[in-house]
Symmetry: C2
Subunit: 594 residues, 2 copies
């Protein structure tokens, strides 16, 4: 699906949503029943303004990354209700609903809608509108559920990614490995997209790599290593297949008793083609398996490494060798299937040194269990010793990736312990936002027919801020954002070097004068329908990611720290403050104490 | 996409996955790098057996609902890697990868794969294989990530739904309202599907209703009510638009001071067409608005209701009246926009009684804030008083729906307090599985080339159970399931009335003899490729839901209780036990204490 809309005077095609399941029916039934009630009452075309915002930052932090905008725009750019959908809606609504309503639905698109939004990838705060949606009330209500769905998880997971990046530090590679544990296929694809946006470097998710151009990373799994495991087949299988014969039983008891029964064959026999061309193509090593074995022997007899390992696991060695033959330029090994220090690392080094003989540089190792701080340090020590002993430049710096249920807390703990990990592969906790799996974005009516609307609640934090508004970020002398401010749409905007009073929207005593050194208008037009208003371009994901990283860098550090961060101030103009409280008093019922 | 496969000898088309984004690329990159390494080493066609299972029940419970099977089967039934995908994979893999590998990928489908699984909707337990996947190792590895993705969230959210049902009790309607807070669009659609499967009655998600035939429910939102709000437009807007003039300021100060300024117009003026035909079509009420108003007056002057309310909110009344005119047979009202007891309920009753005059029965109310136990009881009292006072049969039983951040705990608390809620609308906590947002299903190699494989770990709970296995559920005299047991695939299966030893897979001292009264084989063939093995039908969602409800009913109550439930026993046969420990000793490295 493609649609037209004007960007700075130029026509441009806007693609449909990434997920083709995002259609006008991906909404709550009550949006359609309300649309009917509006239509039936002749109110459906009343011009309305809705704000999309959230009330609390997630994960106990004081900031949020705004994400999901492009998908919203793609959705409305292609918003049409097809015949099949109309037919289904007819079944869902009571038979008394009039035909003309369905004709109305058949005709609607978003040419009469305008969407103003904060740039995707921006750092945002509670209560401020992230999006302002204007249009006929019945239609804009239909957009509520898909918009909130598309923004909520996107912003949540981008924020989670940014928080992981903050703890890991800028020098580390962060890899998103969450597809298998994500909440459904789209949970996985969205996670990959928005984690990249929030500052991750790559994903394991091939589909996301293809859809969004995100770099892909991966090593191999334990299954690959165990597929090379060798043991006495005939013996084992007969026990299960034909029942334990007296002789088998004896043998089994014996091995159980001694606990040391070994009857390994040579796992390396599984490798058929043992030859490997050198990196520059000049020579061919006919027996790479033998070369690896000779390196392993050398390692075993090297004085400085002596005692750290004895006999390594041969099936693991066969698996590594086989993987290196397939990927001589990109040899990566999962080293914890048996024992990292006594088997995985020496086996890896033997293969890496053999590759080095042929001009290849090994890629690195992955640790997926155990004490990652300790194991990474031990691995690094071994790599450095090898570099020194055999004079292989750079060997000490081989990449160490860690995975296994990592999250903000474990990254923080690793930092405190000291570690030698270069890359972190993070899955479950990242993509499911385990620490807080939902963000509470809401979509509130703030004006209809040019009349402001307020949503009251006994809980002050749930009172919505009425009126069609403009939003500004005011920057201080040091370049940090100081405060965000909302004003009525017709108020004069804040100006650089002019003193402006910023008031807490609900707390009378909280107010401050600010003299901004820079003023940024936050809500810009991203969809103007047929109105002709010029609109912002939808930037490519890399640009959004850069914006996000740059905005996070620009924040005052005390807003960003993990422990007791300072809340960033969100305010309203003096006029808007007065107006909120006027409306509030006007609407709130006067209680009677009994 | 459609594919063929034999069901009980008959050819049948199997549709593609519900979400078209579920393609062979929806997998981790390392599945493709491993596939290349297997291929390059000539091992890619080795026949392998993988088990899909989880290690711990979610939500602190002792049971899990297995869900997601149909989507897995739809996926493999249509598994083909297209040219565009091949081209992308070429870019992802190192340029040294040989062309012939891509020819291999081009040719693969799942005709050589077999999938055995527990029936979807079954109650299942840790360590037992939920699925057994057999086929060429390189291909089956490609299936790992999508299978685990499709099963994990589906099973998690179905289990969450079943747990909510358990607390709510069978007599309540449970409505899933989570789309806007779900983790992405597919998170929302999957949630609706699998919550229904786990025992919910309906969803608000229209797309899910269309895709799966799930009943749809919805009322209206606060925005609908506030769109009818009336207040002095000219006055308010001029304050913001043109700045506060001295006169305005005075007026504003005055109203702020008194706090009682009211200048309502008549919101009912917004309603243009005030006529309503009676239910049987015999008469038309020309002024339904007046009829409603007269009922409100009657309510206000009714002795038994006196004192419970005074003047109700007129914009709310206008909104309800308008909604009733649109849906006279399905009038539902959200009654908490202003004040449930003093405004929402009397307004609702006035409209409902006016509808009753015309032969319509009102649908019910929704409470979305405040003390739901108290408010539901007050509402019920009012409804009963109206029934008695005006002799409207059934009015006392009008449906009360509650929503607002409900979860297992709040349902439990409501039960303890006593409430009059008939239906619960549950969103965020249900669909994001807030209490535990991920299930840890894994996919482990248990056999390759007819050789059993074990995945070792220093953590005993992470050791996998090797061998291609059969799984049985043994039932006791009282009809409850007693224990699940895994056996080697060639062992004689457990028989009714025959004593069998069930052993804990890892704990030598835990074992028990069982004489089953009934034996159910758990793993059945759901995909047989070209092998000709007859396979099970994929039942419609309603059947799966029935199975789920029936299986939950059949469980011994102590496994199901929320507080300290008894773990259900999962065991292995004596032979399999011996074999596990033989392999374990054979593979585990012998430590050296230093």
């Amino acid at each position: 699906m493609e649609a037209n809309n004007r960007v700075n005077g130029l026509e441009e095609k806007i693609k449909g949503p990434t997920n083709p399941m995002v259609t006008p029916l991906l909404t709550d039934l009550y949006q359609f029943t309300m649309a009917y009630a509006y239509w039936k009452g002749g109110k459906h075309l009343e011009r309305s303004v809705f704000d999309l915002f959230f009330r609390r930052n997630p994960f106990g932090g004081e900031y949020t990354i705004f994400a999901g905008l492009e998908e919203c725009i793609r959705f409305i750019a292609n918003f049409r209700i097809g015949e099949e959908e109309i037919a289904f809606l007819r079944q869902c609504l009571p038979p008394t609903c009039e035909d003309a309503f369905f004709d109305y639905l058949r005709g609607i698109d978003c040419s009469d809608v305008e969407v103003y939004a904060v740039a995707e990838g921006s750092v945002v705060f509670p209560k401020m509108p992230l999006m302002r949606i204007e249009g006929p009330v019945a239609l804009v209500q239909l957009l509520e559920t898909p918009f909130v769905n598309l923004i909520n998880y996107a912003s949540l997971v981008a924020t989670n990614a940014a928080r992981h990046r903050f703890v890991a530090g800028k020098s580390k590679m962060l890899l998103e490995f969450g597809l298998r544990r994500a909440q459904g296929p789209d949970g996985g694809i969205s996670a990959s997209k928005y984690c990249y946006m929030g500052g991750f470097d790559a994903t394991s998710n091939v589909a996301a790599g293809k859809l969004f151009g995100i770099p892909l990373r991966g090593t191999h799994s334990h299954a690959f290593v165990s597929s090379f495991m060798y043991f006495p087949l005939s013996y084992c299988s007969c026990i299960l297949a034909t029942g334990t014969t007296p002789g088998d039983k004896l043998k089994l008891e014996w091995c159980l008793k001694l606990g040391t029964f070994r009857e390994y064959g040579d796992s390396a026999d599984e490798i058929v083609d043992k030859s490997l061309r050198s990196s520059n193509g000049s020579t061919t090593c006919e027996d790479f398996v033998g070369l690896v074995q000779s390196w392993l022997n050398k390692l075993q007899y090297t004085e400085s490494l002596r005692g750290s390992f004895g006999e390594t696991n041969q099936s693991e060695l066969a698996a590594f060798t086989s993987y290196a033959l397939a990927f001589p330029s990109n040899f990566l090994a999962l080293v914890d299937t048996y024992d990292v220090v006594r088997s995985g690392i020496p086996n890896f080094c033997a293969v890496a040194l053999a590759l080095n003989d042929l001009g290849y540089k090994a890629g690195g190792i992955r640790l997926d269990s155990g004490d990652l701080a300790y194991l990474s340090c031990e691995s690094r020590k071994f790599f450095r010793a090898v570099e020194k002993e055999f004079g292989v430049p750079g060997f000490g710096k081989i990449n160490i990736t860690a995975s296994n249920d990592l999250n903000e807390e474990t990254l923080d703990a690793l930092n405190k312990q000291g570690h030698e990990v270069d890359s972190f592969g993070i899955g479950t906790y990242l993509v499911t936002c385990y620490a807080q799996p939902a963000l509470g974005c809401v979509f509130k009516l703030v004006e209809i027919n040019k009349q402001p609307r307020i949503k009251l609640s006994e809980d002050v934090s749930k009172v919505s801020i009425p009126c069609k508004k403009r939003c500004f970020r005011l920057f201080g002398k040091e370049g940090y954002p100081l405060v965000d401010i909302m004003t009525g749409v017709n108020e004069p905007p804040p100006k650089v070097s002019e003193r402006i009073l910023c008031r807490h929207p609900f707390n009378e005593s909280k107010r401050a004068y600010v003299v901004p050194q820079q003023v940024e208008e936050l809500l810009k037009c991203y969809w103007s329908g047929d109105s002709g208003t010029p609109r912002e371009e939808l930037p490519p994901i890399q640009k959004i990611r850069e914006r996000c990283i740059q905005q996070l860098d620009q924040m005052r550090p005390d807003h960003m720290r993990r422990l007791n961060p300072t809340p960033y101030k969100v305010s309203v103009s003096a006029k808007l403050y007065d107006f909120i409280h006027f409306l509030w008093l006007n609407e709130a019922p006067v209680g009677e104490l009994q």
